[in-house]
Symmetry: C2
Subunit: 145 residues, 2 copies
DNA sequence: ATACGTGCAAAGTATTTGCAAACGG
DNA sequence: CCGTTTGCAAATACTTTGCACGTAT
């Protein structure tokens, strides 16, 4: 299906917008494109270090901020005081998160039925809703006694 | 319906658990009991100051942590990097949050249909789900142009 | 050449921890 | 009295900002 990857989409969007291509941003976009779930800014920073790309932490935050503004990256708050980031795919394709309060693991899930219920809510409250986010908290199979 | 208020419930729970009653915790529980929506730790701190109860910020965090552990207070993350807290009522009574990305306002809403969809999801994923949280992001009536 | 992008370091904000004094039972 | 609770201050964690330099166009 994906004739164009998220990564390519983002580079295209940036080019269209007239942004210059910098090394920090390229590295971050490429790393994010390889992820299937959300990462904290520090995880991204460490991940880049691990592959030898020593970008500054400030650049990580600045790049993420700009990508959020372009709506190609979505912020996720799971309640541990850190903000996480993940690719926002153009299609309605969309997932939510379940957090293990025991080990801190974050996983994702999808549910069309839930999406539908969310859309109904969004239609009736007096907000122009731009995004939504569902977080389940509990114990994963390993942490549940 | 509420023959006992949340505040009383909490004091009762604390007593049962053998906790001593301290001034900081009492003040925090009472303030929370008067709220209808979530507050940050700092908002609670300032609120207490405003009414002349000068508790230490450390106590605010420690008390909130213990109340979360007792499951009488629920944490809410709306994505601005701060953790919010609100009373967790025994009954299934339960609300979710909508955040205005323009002015930062946080409001609450309820939707039985959404709750049902959530329960269905919770039943099918391999987690023992203890809590769930839905956050909508968008522009409120005032901030939407 | 000239902005934009980046990295470093410093500042800012939120939260946690160590410890001694205050206090309830 | 004894141990929990509290407040202060210091420490930590995460994020933002200021500024000078590098670099793509």
């Amino acid at each position: 299906m994906a004739t164009t990857s998220w990564t390519d989409d983002v580079f295209e969007t940036l080019r269209t917008r007239g942004s210059r291509s910098g090394s920090a941003r390229s590295a971050i976009v490429e790393l994010l494109g390889r992820q299937d779930c959300c990462l904290t800014a520090l995880q991204i920073f460490d991940g880049l270090r691990a592959e030898g790309k020593a970008v500054g932490i400030a650049s990580v935050y600045r790049v993420l901020e700009s990508l959020v503004e372009l709506r190609v990256v979505q912020q996720v708050a799971v309640g541990d005081g850190q903000i996480r980031f993940e690719p926002a795919h153009r299609s309605g394709e969309h997932h939510h998160h379940v957090v293990c309060d025991g080990c801190g693991k974050v996983e994702s899930f999808e549910d069309p039925n839930l999406e539908q219920a969310l859309h109904q809510v969004e239609a009736r409250i007096g907000y122009r809703v731009a995004a939504h986010e569902v977080v389940l908290h509990g114990a994963c199979a390993a942490c549940a006694d």
